[in-house]
Symmetry: C2
Subunit: 220 residues, 2 copies
DNA sequence: AAATAATTTTAAGCCAACCTAAAATAGTAT
DNA sequence: ATACTATTTTAGGTTGGCTTAAAATTATTT
């Protein structure tokens, strides 16, 4: 069976939504994610259901079948591997790669993915700290918490971001808070839920609530 | 204006045909190249004409406009750069890369192409010896002739292939006639137009007319 | 020049992916 | 339970890219 570019994007959207919400993806949620109308989604969802890529019941939402999930995770694998390529080999910055990877993830060639993976040294995480599933669709798990959950005196390492917007990524560059940065919470301000943080570079700065709630930390 | 994957492939086909035949591409020639029907071609050709990517007159065939040619050569540039990437970096063999490059050539990102070019060391020729146009669409020219045009006693270097089929490429691998091989014609057999050839590796062998007519040589 | 053959275009229609507007269903508030 | 709101589906239509069959044009043969 062969699956279109568009169908692939729907499967990825459904995967993302069900993972985030922990329940079947609603027509509306999918239409928001895909930036299209609910009517278009209903249309597509019927086709995907005919191809047994999803389970669909009218008014009940959508979940992926094993087959659908396999395709979705494989897309994510390709997306993230290409992002690593773009950053590590072509020296793009982490805020420039998502758009390009959105295109590259649709390239169909089993051997290409496997060779790329090898070429990149079998990375387990992408430039944003997101886990790269293996060829069976298994994601590495890592016990991570938000910076906002750290108490004064606790330390850890910046390992990922929740917010993937260009604005946030560029802000982090500016503040020298790249992945791998060691941080220690020095002080918590109840007033606006901001924190004074010490980074490994000796830099001390106050980070807003919003920033703290979008940075994943591995405690140590 | 934005151009679909399919439209891009038509432009590339038209470029290839007009270059090969030295005259406007006929509907039939395009339909053969695109593996579709003449009716579909007429249909598409109207659309491309509306977009001023081609000049089209009913029954008179098709030529590219400046704009159309620019897109076509840029596609060829991307195709060939990706082929270099696949061979040089991912260690694919030269008979495996065309299909994958057919997909990769459609990735849209100006900076990606330029960075890839730089990463590969600004190659001027692809793994099959075909010239890689620069970003203005200019192809390097090289005075090359077919092996079949060489006279006994003459020497040269294998620099390209006319036939790009897997069968031929694998045959060349088997015979150790990769690009860069130095060859000298020892003897010409009028009977079947074959040649006895000495390769730089000391290997001496008789090559058929068909082989000799599909190998590009740079004389010296 | 007329007849025949090849090429190209037109006509009509299919499918994927989208849209808007209206109808149906489900969820929430009174 | 009824009324109102939000969500979802259906109906009907568009566009790109494709198909087959028939008509028109051009090229070749006699
Ligand atoms: Mn991404
Ligand atoms: Mn990422
Ligand atoms: Mn190729
Ligand atoms: Mn090539």
């Amino acid at each position: 069976m062969d699956i279109s570019h568009t169908e692939e994007n729907y499967l990825k959207a459904i995967f993302k939504i069900s993972e985030r919400d922990g329940k079947p993806a609603s027509t509306n949620a999918i239409s928001t994610e895909m930036e299209t109308t609910a009517a278009s989604v209903t249309d597509m969802v019927k086709r995907l259901s005919d191809k047994t890529l999803i389970h669909y019941e009218r008014y009940r939402g959508v979940t992926l079948t094993g087959q659908g999930e396999q395709i979705a995770t494989h897309l994510i694998r390709k997306h993230r591997l290409w992002e690593v390529f773009l950053v590590d080999k072509l020296h793009f910055s982490w805020d420039e790669v998502h758009e390009i990877a959105e295109q590259l993830e649709h390239i169909k060639s089993q051997s290409l993915v496997e060779r790329l993976d090898e070429y990149l040294g079998f990375p387990k995480f992408d430039p944003h700290g997101d886990p790269i599933p293996d060829s069976n669709g298994n994601f590495a798990v890592r016990k991570q918490i938000l910076l906002s959950e750290l108490k004064p005196g606790e330390r850890g390492e910046v390992v990922g971001v929740q917010d993937h917007t260009t604005a946030f990524l560029q802000y982090l560059d500016r503040m020298e808070l790249a992945l791998g940065t060691q941080v220690e919470v020095l002080e918590y301000f109840e007033y606006d839920e901001s924190m004074r943080v010490l980074a490994n570079n000796g830099r001390e700065q106050v980070l807003s609530k919003k920033v703290c709630q979008n940075l994943f930390i591995q405690k140590h």
